[in-house]
């Protein structure tokens, strides 16, 4: 960002201040409240699902996360497929994007969208066009963090 600012001519800078006056402001507070409520609600449903698995299946609190996440992604598939999730997303913003349902939505929406290009090139090739970066940075940062921690333990720092 900073490097771009430097390259701007005075004329461009002038215009941008003028333009900013007319720019519709994002309702940050309202958005945050909506994100909080919807995000909280999704986590609440997740908690209910995990108690369901604890009660009726052989899952403990420690490993109930996996079936819960999978179930939430399943819900996300239904909502995405029936064209509801994008409306929820417009309302809730990060509230529906940050939970794992949002991750599921980004994969599933891309998969559905590119079905017209075939299953190999379309669905297969585009499925992770949005979620790919999450996986990349998740896996790589996990690798780095685990490596650092293991080394520190080995050297006796921790």
């Amino acid at each position: 960002m900073a490097s771009k600012q430097k390259k701007m001519t005075p004329q461009q800078k002038n215009y941008q201040t003028l333009q900013q006056k007319h720019e519709l402001k994002r309702p940050v507070l309202k958005n945050c409240i909506k994100a909080f409520l919807v995000g909280g609600l999704i986590c609440l449903i997740g908690q209910a699902v995990s108690y369901f698995y604890i009660y009726y299946f052989n899952f403990t609190e420690q490993n109930v996360g996996n079936p819960t996440v999978a179930t939430m992604v399943f819900f996300s598939m239904l909502l995405t497929g029936f064209g509801v999730y994008d409306h929820i997303g417009q309302f809730a913003g990060a509230g529906s994007a940050v939970p794992v349902t949002g991750f599921g939505n980004s994969v599933i929406s891309a998969a559905i969208e590119h079905r017209t290009e075939g299953f190999v090139l379309g669905v297969g090739g585009n499925m992770f066009k949005l979620a790919g970066s999450v996986i990349l940075f998740g896996v790589f940062s996990a690798f780095v963090v685990a490596l650092i921690k293991t080394l520190l333990v080995m050297w006796g720092v921790l």
């Binding site: 461009q12 003028l18 497929g81 929406s109």
Partner: protein
């Protein structure tokens, strides 16, 4: 005839005799639904993909225009058209179906006026007797290419605009005196202007300087006063771009009356439709002009209008590579036949 630095005056007054306007379900619920010739209630329009539906929109609009103009497609010399999709395939494929000699244009959302200016020029100098020109866009096809998958739950900020689904086509032919049809009288071709804005969710703000530049150039070249036109209408600036342009014009000394300056993207939809800052897309100015505005002109609401279509010349790639958004605007003046300019 060249006038001033970047404007043409069409002395032979090419005439827009017929138009074809098609739209999608979202437009059917909008303000101007009665001005469409054909409205689809499904975004797929019975096709296998959005891109094919996009193609169908344009094909149907051309067919309607030909039918209303009472002319066969092999009588038409040229087709000037374009859209927003990669390599403008929907338009080229529609041209394949129609078998009309074809110029593919890309001027993003300014394509409609780019096409109308060129068609008028060609017809004015007897380069053709009949020319079809138009532009189209399909919400889902464009979203898919420029933004996110249509079902992706991303939140669009209030500055974002809604790409319209629709195609507008006009049949331009040599003037036949006595016929009560709109004619094109002049055009101003804009230059590419980049004010360094890079937010693809605020196209209106990026395009405003281009629109203002072209409008100012138009009045300078033609030595006209803004009061000459009943209406100056921009293509798809949306709320932000429209207000910004109004201020830029005001600062440059062009005085506009209340209600004289409007925007197609704002005319298209009702207040309660979730279009954020307004409609946009190559089809936006084309459908509103060839549908609503020309109908109003025939009714006598407006006698002389200036249409300024603006385009943001970005690609998903250029945005990701952190380039800013270069913009362009073309203006075409349209008057009713018989009105001496």
């Amino acid at each position: 005839m060249l006038k001033g630095q970047q404007s043409w005056v069409f002395d032979n007054r090419p005439m827009i005799t017929a138009t074809g306007v098609t739209g999608g379900p979202f437009e059917a619920n909008g303000n101007l639904s009665s001005d469409f010739d054909l409205l689809y209630d499904d975004l797929w329009m019975g096709q296998e993909s959005y891109e094919k539906a996009h193609r169908l929109l344009l094909e149907e609009a051309i067919k309607v225009a030909l039918k209303k103009g009472e002319i066969e497609k092999d009588q038409v010399q040229f087709l000037f058209a374009g859209d927003l999709i990669n390599q403008i395939t929907p338009t080229s494929f529609a041209a394949r179906t129609m078998q009309i000699p074809y110029f593919g244009l890309f001027g993003a959302c300014s394509t409609s006026m780019e096409g109308l200016a060129l068609s008028s020029f060609v017809v004015n100098y007897q380069g053709a007797n009949y020319v079809l020109t138009g532009a189209s866009s399909h919400n889902s096809a464009v979203e898919k290419q420029f933004r996110y998958p249509t079902e992706y739950g991303g939140q669009k900020p209030p500055t974002a605009q809604w790409t319209i689904t629709g195609a507008g086509v006009a049949l331009v032919e040599t003037n036949k005196p006595g016929q009560d049809n709109p004619v094109t009288t002049s055009a101003t071709i804009g230059k590419v202007i980049d004010m360094g804005l890079s937010d693809p969710f605020n196209m209106g703000g990026a395009m405003a300087p281009a629109a203002a530049d072209t409008i100012i150039a138009h009045f300078r070249d033609l030595k006209l006063d803004p009061s000459y036109y009943d209406l100056i209408v921009t293509g798809d600036l949306g709320r932000i771009g429209h207000n910004t342009t109004a201020e830029l014009l005001n600062k440059s000394g062009l005085k506009l009356k209340q209600g004289q300056f409007q925007d197609c993207g704002l005319l298209m939809y009702k207040e309660d439709q979730p279009v954020m800052a307004g409609g946009s897309g190559a089809g936006c100015s084309a459908t509103v002009l060839y549908g609503h505005l020309l109908n109003e002109m025939k009714k006598g609401t407006y006698k002389r209008i200036l249409v300024v279509a603006t385009g943001a010349l970005l690609s998903p790639l250029s945005f990701q590579q952190k380039d800013s958004i270069p913009c362009i605007a073309h203006a075409v003046a349209i008057e009713m036949n018989g009105e001496k300019g």
